[in-house]
Amino acid sequence: MEGIYAFCVGLLTACGIFLTLRGRTFSVVLGLTMMSYAVNLFLFASGRLTINSAAILGQSDTYADPLPQALVLTAIVIGFAMTAFVVILSMRARADLGNDHVDGKDPNEIPTDMSQSKKGERN
């Protein structure tokens, strides 16, 4: 089981990294979301994998390590806040700069995008 788990964490990391290396903000957001899955799973793994032993007193004989769970719980919520921030930032960037490239300027603008590229300028 551990092998599959580790494989999934690795795969999510790889996909996340690949997506964060893309040039468009939405892909980067997808990548960051994927990376936060991987990070949360990885942190969770530091408590090792156990089955049918939730850390609720009196419900089972052995208990899973509750500490990583508590850490990951807040990490999930904060991860959401971060994703939201990046999403809004990328929209703001598009509104102000006129494109959705991570560098704020389109290296090879496609003609159809030209009409949109100018309108970010504030009036």
């Binding site: 089981m1 092998g3 788990y5 580790a6 999934c8 690795g10 795969l11 999510l12 790889a14 996909c15 990294i17 290396l21 893309r22 040039g23 468009r24 939405f26 892909s27 994927m34 799973l41 969770f44 530091s46 408590g47 090792r48 994998l49 156990t50 089955i51 049918n52 939730a54 850390a55 609720i56 007193l57 009196g58 419900q59 208990y63 899973a64 769970q69 508590a70 990951v72 719980l73 807040t74 999930i76 919520v77 904060i78 806040a81 994703t83 939201a84 921030f85 999403v87 809004i88 929209m91 598009r94 509104a95 959705d100 991570v102 560098d103 496609i110 159809t112 995008d113 949109q116 100018k118």
Partner: protein
Amino acid sequence: MNTLLWLPLLPLLGSLVPLLTARYHRNVCALFTAILPFVSLLIVLEMTPDVLNGVNHYAFAEWIPQLGLNIAFRLDGLSLLFAILILGIGLLVILYARYYLSSKDSIGKFYAFLMLFMFSMLGVVLSDNLLQMWMFWELTSISSFLLISFWGHKSEARRGARMALTITGAGGLALLAGIIIMGNVIDSYSLQVALDSGDIIRAHSAYPVILVLFLLGAFTKSAQFPFHFWLPHAMAAPTPVSAYLHSATMVKAGIFLMARMHPALADTDLWFLIVSLTGLTTLLLGAYIALFKHDLKGLLAYSTISHLGLITLLLGLDTRLSTVAALFHIINHATFKASLFMAAGIIDHETGSRDMRQLNGLWKYMPHTATLAMVAASAMAGVPLLNGFLSKEMFFTETLHQEALGSLSWMIPVLATIGAVFAVAYSTRFIHDVFFNGEPINLPKTPHEAPRYMRVPVEILVALCLLVGIFPGFIVGDLLYSASLAAINGPVPEYSLSIWHGFNYPLLMSFVATAGGLIIYYYRQPLFAFQSNFAEPDAKQIFEDVMQNIIHRVTGFYNLLENGSLQRYNYLLISLAVVMMAAPLMDLSSTLGRRPELPYTIVDITAALLLSVGALMTVICHRKRMLALITLSIVGFIVSLAFARFSAPDLALTQLSVEVVTIVLLMLSLFFLPQKAQKQSNPRRIIRDLSLSSIVGGLIGTICYALLTRPLESISDFFIANSKTGGGGTNVVNVILVDFRGFDTLGEITVLGIAALGIYKLISRMRLFMPSGDLYGRPWSNDAHPMMLAVLSQSLLPIALLVSAYIFLRGHNMPGGGFIAGLITSVAIIQQYIAHGVDWMKHRVKIDYQILIGSGIAIATLTGLGSWLFDRPFLTSWFDYFYLPIVGKFELASAMMFDLGVYLTVIGATMLILANLGKLTTSERPIQKEEE
């Protein structure tokens, strides 16, 4: 407080005095400024008898003892000598500057800088800790930068200041490196330890490095060849600064360093060779160039370089008395050169020119100043009965006794005599060209005598030149002996400070120098003509070019790394992380640990397969945003299931509800992003990124596997044991969140609130293009709010809220709690927004989400503060059990109030983000028209 500490501290406080008194008359300002350094001088004089009797004063306080950095001051003979010079000449300069600066100059600012400099300089000479000394050393560079650039409107002042700062600052960094290496060798930064460990340092293999680094610091500060060029350009400073910094004190800091570190670093062939040859070169070069300078201050600047070279040469010689001679010349040079600078300043001030081709025959106009300047210049030339003569004789004697260059040692006295010839020549030029030699030519002002009190500092210094010259033993004998004692850190050899030593070689050398100097001056015209064949290199321009060149190269390198492409930064950053991660992994012999693995089941394998497909599909389809979002949600869903599977029900609930909120958010954002598929990356880049991400994924997977298969040693047993008895709940995860680690949670909800507010700021006044149709021009559906959805979700709302209340209440004992309940409530409200639209909701939900965040954090904080009322530490929890009819036995815990704060903050943050983003799609948003 130890009296010694006041010594540098008073000038530091004194730097505030002129700023406060600058609004009054400048006499008042000068007077008040002088008080504190005067008190410092009195303290020094009060301590002088002790020091002369061999009792040093110390002050010590711990600062960062772990780093070996302590506040440590000492007053021994060497420090005493310099402290008297710094404070004494400093006071004279204050008086002089009062008359020198024009009414346009801000005298308060000038005095403040001057006092700051005085403080730093005193710090250098009094420090008993090498790191602390270095700090003051750099402070002198900075304060001298401020002083040189005092007339910042002049380009030459700015450039000169920049050059001085660059050279001396860079030397200071070398010195720091030297100090740190030496500190590692002797395992201490205490000066005394360093002085006593000379043998260890010299025997150590790092000695050459330490020596060169120290000497770099000393040579740059003391304008030794080839770093001498900054000093003439620093002459753009007001003359009081030149008199103080560039003759008497700051440039002597390098000399001081060599004298101070003499016991620790000197007495090796390397020292003799580097120091003496550098000193000799500087001595000759400075003396030669000085003769050809038409600018009065230029002449004095190069003469200063030459004299600094002389002192350096003396410190580099291995003879008995060379150190004593060096210290003696420090005193003498400080007195005559400061007075000469002041005289030059008076001449400049009263005639408006410093050019010796214009200045002639001033004797008639200012006989008083002329007399003073002539005496001082004679001292510089080494005329008998003046102090310069005595130390020059000692210098000649020592050059005769050294064996630094083996069989070539005879060259040093010969070259020293040649240097002295030029010294006589330029001193003669200073006297003859300025005060005699016909009539002034085209002076901007009619020359006249300077104000009475402007001449007083010059008079005092010239009087000292005479007194030391005639009664050397009486005036400076004790001071010199005590300084030598400190510099040698051992027994001081016998010497005599008399005027007459009989007919001997040094006297002959003096005679040759005087005669030669006069002859050279007499034939100066052909020499000047000859010298004019050589174009004078413009050090400023060369320096500027070198600087530009360096900046250009660095910029090139910088641009290579930082070309404005985020993708490249990320790539480099991740690559570096790979290197850092991979290196320790190499040491791990086996990935597999000893912990037994769980069995594989078909369900798990299916889930893993789904997750892999989802993740890969997201990558493959990432250019089709909608599709990628759907596949991403599969991944999120499987992750939630994984948490549920591996005994983390709280995490599963959280992940599930966050998933909903995230996907709704991303869907909303899709509306505003370009609909057109993005351009495919270039294939080479795809290969590059794919390989890097696979490597990282592989590494992380390996680490994860290694981690999972190793036995667990957790601190969680404590939490499990105390959850019920200490926190009153059976859901250990929730008890950790709201009780054991409540402080962390408080911080986390605060971060959440701040992030939400930041997003709110980003959203407000954002002008987005709202597309009227899809990519193919098809209009949006008219059925914006389907009735079925609207009706269903409306009836679902109470149930959803009920569920969230239940989840909230049971959170302490069963999976649930503030975070999860908050998210569920948010999802319920968001569903209403989706079903009915923002406008509909606006009339019904009148909650200000910002206030909700604020009150959530406030409730959580107040719950924590509440425990103070019961004299308990912050966030101590309380719980008890109660009984009510019908309801039965139930528990009340302060942790629930805390959880309520969490709950409200989570709702507030989530809704603030989503509701405001949703509002952008309505008619009330700031509109931006599409230009076609």
